[in-house]
Amino acid sequence: MRYLFMIFGAEVDPATVPDAEAAAEMAAYNAFTQEVQARGLMLGGEALEPSSTATTVRVRDGHALVTDGPFAETKEQILGYYLLECADLDEALEMAARVPGAASGGIEVRPIWELPAEAAPAAPGATAV
């Protein structure tokens, strides 16, 4: 089952972060990515540019309203994401705790809505999608 891991945290001006700290964070994320790849869970994942680079589009009454900035002006914003294939929520939560961002911010774990399987009957003993 697929889960989206949204990495939330306070946005910090990169210029104020010491090089050593930035390098350590990068290394931690690389290590996590490698781990989930090795476990066959990795479907995707990226870091995002800061919310100041965001633009939000809403269409109302056929008109596109474009505003500068993120969808919600909250103290913590989404910093990046992972899309992982996990056996169940327990495995997802176990991995979420290991995302480096979990230690300072928080990881929202959301199941991907899966299309109902109307395929040919699976053999008994198979795991349903």
Partner: protein, 440 residues
Amino acid sequence: MASGSATDWQATVEAVFREESGRIVATLIRQTGDFEVAEESVQDAFLAALERWPRDGLPRNPAAWITTTARNRALDRLRRAQRFARRQAALHALAAAESAEAADPFAGRSGLADPTGADGPSTESEAALPDDRLRLIFTCCHPALSPEARVALTLRTLGGLQTPEIARAFLVPEATMAQRLVRAKRKIREARIPYRVPPPEVLPARLASVLAVLYLIFNEGYLASGGEAPIRRELCAEAIRLARIVVELLPDEPEARGLLALLLLHDARREARQAPDGSLVLLEQQDRRRWDRAAIAEGSALLAEALAAGRPGPYQVQAAIAAAHDQAATPAATDWPRIAALYARLAILAPSPVVELNRAVALAMSGDLEAGLAILDGLGGDARLAAYHPFHAARADLLRRSGRSAEAAVAYRRAIRLTANPAEAAVLRERLAEIEAAGR
């Protein structure tokens, strides 16, 4: 019992379901791999029982009747279910379960029925703890569910309580409670909360969640006063019953035993805790002859067993404190130094301002007024205690005994304003009057 009033039958059916349905729901979840289908099928069986039993009489084997009826309903629901592949596997599992009924408890298992099967289950922990009720209780108490949802789901599926009963117990409208349960079951399905006993590396933390839910249920029944008294008493009984099951299923977990001991040692004071007008009677004013000696004996024995494992924890320590109170024949005979030491222990295991408050009181009661006051002065800035009347009442008392009458009076007035308990307010007013009289 072929004849009887409708309310008699309602009570009978409810009682039977409370006794039997937990086990049946748990097994059916494993067999169908679907929490919602299993739980709703047992609910269907309940409604069927309400209709049939008054007419046909109580079945010779009520559990078998419920099991068969629920299983048939589950088959119906699954045949109508959307998810084809899932449905086939589940139907297969149910059919296998039917034909291999009594012999092998694992007969119905397929890769689907055990959601972790595809991963390779931790067969060690599964083999050691085969009871489905254990899987059920860990699922109901999963941290991904909100605390209120965990309580509601535990009472509903394990306790076999009906939704209206649970709603009444927690003083929410029935529709609210029904929604809470629907959302919880949906989350289990949509987020795929696995139906299993957690593996050893996370079991202690997950067990703590289970014990917390049981303690919450107990306190809901224990701390309320007046009004819905019969429901409240039932909650305490239900918490104790479920705690017994957890101890039975996890005999090597001392904290589970510690919790059961704690619940029994508190429940032992049940008869002495309420005044005729429904208000709570303070511990030092309770008629100790009305305490349940058998419950105290059982709780004390359980505590001793738990402590023998050499893995102390917060519930064991709290049980030891309750035992110290329960074993005192009179308030004067209370071993306050021991209680103070136990609170010191608890402060390390599960720190909180209330624990510190109780430690301060125990120290003062054991004769060390200075130390008690020092702790309370240190807590004065804690916002969490600002509206907590026992804090102000305790402070007032210690200040009075130290001769600091003016400060004591202020604290008494604060406590009187904050307490909702008439018996306590009366005692506080008396003490305030004493100081004011002496001050003239």
